[in-house]
């Protein structure tokens, strides 16, 4: 197992390196425009552009430029120029909001996805299954940018149960923190619940046909034991993989739209604004941040998968 983890970690570093090179090439090398110009932003003065050119060393050979860029990233010198703030500071500032949003939504979608999928599978073909399947498909079909305004209109404006926007840090006021996050959580989770319910249902139905489920029944286990310890347990393995990837992608940037609509001051919102103003340093910074989380979650998921499925962990031996 240790060998397995080491390999994955090394792989992770290699991938991150590759991603950083790609970011470098895409943003610095490929565009026809002078990279210093792109970095400086829309309202750049010629002096600013000149300073950037010197700082970033655009006359140096490419590998040197890459190293300069990476040095800036790691030492927190990646600056956005209008206003002048280090990108990484801004990202770190946005993390609590983004994490609160995505982790909360993830917990909700995982819990309900499993629950609804389980119920659907156990009562497959019945009326409950049909209703849940319909709801799941509806959930998958409704786009976030439609759902959010509808929720805001209903619950925030009309019924005035929840506030319509803003993020309140946990440390400031836990009650309000929760209050402000409910609608965003629901928005983000609805789509995923539908999807996960379908996946869990499908995996469970497959697992129910397996021989070991028949053995479990033949041993005299109760139906609930059979469903949870055997069917659900084995169905979870692919779901874990999926969840890891989805969670990574969500932290990395899928939450952008939700943050934008609800005006939650997280990394996603930062990225949305930067894209709107075409400010290159924040975009690069967020790209690297996103890549980091996706790769991290991928690795975590691989390790978790090996833990859950002993065949992967120990390798196929036998005989």
């Amino acid at each position: 197992m240790a060998r397995f983890i080491v390999r994955r970690l090394v792989g992770m570093v290699a991938v991150l390196f590759a991603v950083s090179v790609i970011v470098f090439v895409v943003f610095m090398v490929l565009p026809k425009q002078n990279p210093a110009q792109s970095l400086a932003g829309k309202n750049a003065t010629p002096i600013l552009v000149e300073n950037i050119e010197e700082e970033w060393g655009f006359d140096d050979p490419l590998p040197q430029q890459y190293l300069t860029m990476m040095k800036k990233v790691f030492t927190g010198e990646l600056l956005q120029y209008e206003p002048r703030i280090p990108v990484d500071d801004r990202i770190v500032e946005g993390l609590p909001a983004t994490f609160s949003l995505t982790i909360g939504a993830a917990v909700i979608w995982l819990f309900f996805g499993l629950l609804l999928g389980y119920l659907s599978a156990v009562r497959a073909g019945g009326w409950l299954d049909r209703i849940l399947t319909g709801a799941a498909i509806a959930g998958i079909a409704i786009p976030v940018f439609l759902l959010a305004p509808v929720l805001i209109y209903l619950f925030a404006n009309q019924l005035e149960i929840f506030p319509s926007s803003q993020y309140v840090p946990l440390s400031e006021d836990p009650g309000e923190w929760l209050n402000h996050l409910i609608l965003p959580w629901v928005t983000l989770a609805v789509l995923m619940i539908g999807f996960y319910a379908r996946v869990v249902r499908s995996n469970m139905l497959d697992a129910m046909d397996e021989d070991y489920v028949r053995t479990a029944r033949a041993k005299g286990l109760s139906e609930r034991q059979v469903m949870t310890k055997h069917v659900l347990r084995n169905s979870l393995i692919p779901v874990v993989t999926l969840f890891g990837l989805d969670f990574g992608a969500t932290i990395a940037g899928t939450a952008i739209i939700t943050e934008a609509i609800y005006d939650i001051d997280g990394v996603g919102l930062y990225a949305a604004e930067a894209i709107g103003n075409f400010e290159l340093p924040p975009i690069m910074g967020v790209a690297l941040y996103g890549a980091f989380f996706v790769v991290l979650m991928n690795t975590v998921v691989d390790v978790l998968y090996a833990y859950l499925d002993p065949r992967v962990r120990l390798g196929e031996s036998a005989s």
């Binding site: 021989d211 070991y212 053995t215 029944r217 033949a218 041993k219 005299g220 286990l221 084995n234 005989s319």
Partner: protein, 346 residues
């Protein structure tokens, strides 16, 4: 039938409603199992042998299944018993072992854990340590070397033969009265098969464990069975003692099965005697005897459904479902010096 029967099946019928109509998988099966006896149920795919076994322990109860008839275990009726009662009985009084030990174990749990799970499902007061000790004991009893270590292994770390032994160990955990083995050796190599058969035979002898062995392999039957039931298209077409079935078979299907076997102890025939055609679709059975389309001895009485009857005066336990007279049977079943069904013109 004997009053001393441990398990008594009377007129069992199991049908499944499908999109294409009612599929009668089991159509009026009756037999007795005496304590300590090994009963072999022989048939090919579609014969209904597995469905019969699974129905006896309630595994076929579903919305689309229609079950009729009676199954009595030591006088207690099972078909009308509640689900909770059946669950209790499974594993504790009747245990079942299946064909493919690789897929019959859950790959993510250790073998020992799965055995302990079986124990604790019926004896929840058993501690984990006690359960584990019992699992080690059981693995040893079925001939697995080094059980102390092996009990913590995962299924894929065992070889095929070991896995099947572990399956049998798990089935014995609660000391059931009846063991049903559904094609236990079909997926195994022939040398391993011999070992498993020896194990089953030993368990039957030492523990007086009544065993139902389901198989398509008559060689396996000859090794360990006491009595034999031959099934075709959901019906019993012949039943009797081992010797009666092998040396005095009364039904053409049985002749066909015996004839198409390769015999290492006999010279090779020119052509392997075969049975023409294929097993019938259960949705589209012929009128009368189900074997008609494939039987070279079909005659005018066959469209009338033959009852299962003992037709030999000195063998009241030997029943068959064929209208031919015993004399005709004695004649027709010998093909090229052996028992078989006529080979079609080459």
């Amino acid at each position: 039938m004997s009053a001393r029967a441990l398990l008594s099946v009377r007129d069992l019928r199991v049908g499944f409603t499908t999109e294409d109509g009612l599929l009668q998988a089991v159509d009026g099966v009756s037999f007795d199992l005496r304590p300590g006896e090994v009963l072999a149920i022989v048939g090919e795919s579609g014969s209904g042998k597995s469905v019969t076994a699974q129905t006896m322990i309630g595994l076929t109860r579903a919305r689309n299944s229609r079950i009729e008839g009676s199954v009595e275990l030591a006088g207690e009726e099972l078909m009308s018993a509640g689900d909770a009662k059946m669950r209790q009985l499974r594993g504790e009084r009747i245990a079942m072992v299946f064909q493919d030990p690789m897929t019959s174990f859950n790959p993510v749990y250790r073998i020992g854990a799965q055995i302990v799970e079986a124990i604790r499902a019926h004896r929840p007061e058993t501690s984990k340590a006690e359960g584990r000790a019992r699992a080690v004991e059981l693995l040893g009893a079925v001939g697995i070397p080094d059980p102390e270590r092996r009990v913590d292994a995962y299924p894929h770390e065992f070889s095929g033969g070991m896995r099947q032994r572990a399956m049998i160990a798990m089935a014995l955990a609660l000391e059931p009265e009846v063991l049903i083995a559904d094609e236990p050796t079909t997926a195994l190599d022939v040398t391993i098969q011999a070992q498993i058969l020896r194990l089953l035979e030993q368990l039957n002898r030492e523990r007086n464990l009544a065993t139902i062995l389901i198989t398509h392999d008559l060689g396996v039957v000859a090794e360990i069975a006491d009595r034999v039931l031959v099934m075709y298209a959901g019906k019993v077409v012949e039943q009797g003692t081992l010797d009666e079935i092998f040396y005095d078979p009364q039904h053409p299907y049985t002749w066909g099965l015996l004839g198409s076997l390769t015999r290492l102890d006999q010279p090779r025939p020119k052509r392997l005697p075969q049975i023409a055609g294929s097993p019938p679709s259960l949705l589209d059975l012929p009128q009368g005897c189900p074997f008609r389309p494939r039987c070279p001895h079909e005659f005018s009485k066959c469209p009338q459904y033959p009852p299962l009857e003992a037709r030999l005066p000195d063998a009241p336990g030997h029943c068959d479902r064929c209208w031919l007279t015993p004399e005709e049977k004695g004649e027709k079943r010998v093909v090229a010096g052996r028992i078989g069904l006529e080979a079609p013109n080459a």
